[in-house]
């Protein structure tokens, strides 16, 4: 945006009021956005007794990290009392390869669909894209049957496969929209230079892709990390991802609830994704600008 404050003849009261309004509005919005985080944080730091008396929108009178310690390493989930930590690491082990594989496949698809077009490439793309919009509840049962047939039901491998498969439409979309704006001449030059499909991809295209890789990885990582439905349906026991474990911790039918532990656990489960957004948020916007905006 043009620096309007640098225009001459506008240094008026009105302008100052305008600036104040802008900041005030931003502040109000920031409050709205931060409120759930505040509630979660303050609750996680309060002793249980304090929580049960009075409003939750209040600063803790007494701060204790017990809930955090318990949520991480001691809380009982089912018959195991190791807290969230094992699930946390396990989720990383499932999600990271799934993110990598789906991103790589999306990259290859996007590249093939834009730079090595074949008849019907648009149709193929359109059909793949529709996978972004399927309500996942509808495919749970057939997927279960399929995983069973493949003999990988209830394994991290099976879960990773499901993540990867339903991630492909998104990754393909992102990469395709980004690669459309890379000049075809580069591919022609590389072809004449003797580089084939993969050599061109590796030497020419991949080095140009970091912005869109960031967008894709963020999208995939948060999507997979936060998934509940697939995790609950296609994993078991110690193999459950962290969000499912969190749900097990938080949700009890007839047991006693420890809200501070619940919220500490919630925050712990959210740390990686929030971390990714905070660290890479800038690149996220940049990557969006670079092409995937076109949706």
């Amino acid at each position: 945006m043009l620096d309007t404050s640098a225009l001459p003849g506008r240094r008026s009261i009105g302008q100052i009021i305008g600036r104040i309004t802008i900041y005030a509005m931003l502040l109000i919005f920031a409050t709205y956005y931060l409120m759930p985080l505040f509630v979660m944080l303050s609750t996680s730091l309060r002793p249980l007794a304090e929580i049960k008396s009075g409003s939750i929108i209040a600063l803790p009178r007494e701060i204790t990290f017990d809930a955090w310690v318990k949520a991480w390493g001691q809380a009982c989930i089912g018959t195991k009392c190791d807290g969230l930590s094992p699930h946390f690491w396990l989720t990383l082990k499932v999600v990271v390869p799934s993110v990598i594989v789906s991103t790589v496949l999306g990259m290859i698809n996007g590249y093939a669909l834009t730079k090595w077009r074949f008849k019907g490439a648009n149709l193929v793309f359109g059909l793949m894209l529709f996978g972004c919009f399927v309500p996942y509840q509808a495919i749970l049962l057939p997927m279960a049957q399929t995983l069973g047939t493949l003999g990988i039901s209830n394994t991290p491998l099976g879960l990773g496969l499901v993540f990867t498969l339903y991630g492909i439409p998104f990754t393909t979309l992102f990469f395709r929209n980004y690669y459309v704006s890379i000049p075809d001449d580069l591919i022609k030059a590389a072809t004449i230079d003797g580089a084939g499909f993969f050599a061109t991809l590796w030497y020419i295209i991949v080095p140009l892709s970091p912005p869109i890789i960031v967008v894709t990885v963020i999208w995939q990582f948060t999507g997979m990390w936060n998934d509940f439905l697939f995790g609950a349906a296609f994993s078991s026991g110690a193999g459950q991802p962290v969000i499912v474990a969190l749900n097990n911790l938080v949700n009890t039918t007839t047991g006693v609830k420890e809200y501070n532990v619940d919220f500490a656990a919630s925050i712990i489960a959210a740390i990686p994704t929030v971390f990714v957004y905070v660290v890479a948020g800038k690149y996220f916007i940049r990557g969006l600008t670079a092409g995937s905006v076109k949706g």
Binding site: S236, V250, G255, E258
Partner: protein, 395 residues
Amino acid sequence: EPTLEVLHYWTSGGESLAINVFADALNNAGGKWVDQPVAGGGGDAMNTVLRTRVIAGDPPGMTILKGPVVTEWANAGALADLENVAAAEKWDDILPPLLSDIVKVDGKYAAVPLDVHRVDWMWVNPEVLASVDGAVPTTWDEFNTLADKLLEAGITPLAHGGQPWQDATMFEVVALGLGGPDFFREALVDVNPDALRSDTMIAVFDQMRRMRGYVDDNFSGRDWNLATTMVMNGDAAMQIMGDWAKGEFLAANKTPGEDFICAPAPNKGGYILNSNSFAFFDDPNASDDAVAGRELMASLLLSEEAQIEFTLNKGSVPARLGVSREPYDICGVRSMDDIEATLASGTLVPSMAHEMATSSANRGAFLEIITEHFNSDMSSQEAVELLVEAIELAQ
């Protein structure tokens, strides 16, 4: 090594300790317990997983199934045969007939009952009661009078959480109280349309409408244990909730009979029973270990030792008869006494709200209408009609 994979939704707090009793028992007996908890929605989430796993051809070894669902699964041919163990352990002798009826399909055991929860408890704060000179009500008229008095005194009479299953719990307690066990069976177990349309049913909905007035405004979506806390803290006088509520009092170091009172909700004799049972799934591809694990577990479930330890943690009482009452507090003892009494008089009824009475489709229809009614200004007549219609659709 006998191995057993257990799918369940008892994931935290006392539930988790309770199920650990069986896990330990199995592990100590040389088996291996493989835990697969899926919490949420009182077993809804677990049901989803169960479904996907069965469809995937990879059913868990054992899971929590209740009431008619056992029959549904058994009819689908998914459950393992337990006759050998049942005979060896003499289940027919040690289980009360109503319980064994529920878990038997075609005269064969399809699941093993673990415990008995009493649903129709009323939890009362004696101090609050004393503040209005009230006594624990034994009829719904008394209840209403007391509640009105409490309201006048500015006290919330009834602590309640607005979740469908809590609404339904209250409903069935009222239904038993106003209609008696026979009506309960006809309406909530057999879903007989005549019973559903009867005046008694209308009276039940009328009472529910009154109850709505005794509940504070913030009840919607509240967890049951927060409602219990209200009673504990004197913010409300009473709560109608199953015996698991006791765990919440105990966790706050309250003593039954002193700091809180457990009394059966007003009724004309009767006992709404909720029982958890374990069902074993039959997997044609199961390994020998899995089969061995299944049988080993089944044989351990009804041992007195495990029963006592499990129910103490769970807040319930044992499923089998003839267990020592010594370890139980007064609420537990009262519950055990009443089971025997109602068994004798034939007034023990299965809980509709807790999936003991009728198919999940029927139960869903009940919950839907009960909640709708409780949360709106629908008339009782209207509610009854909608209920009949919904039950028809669920067939």
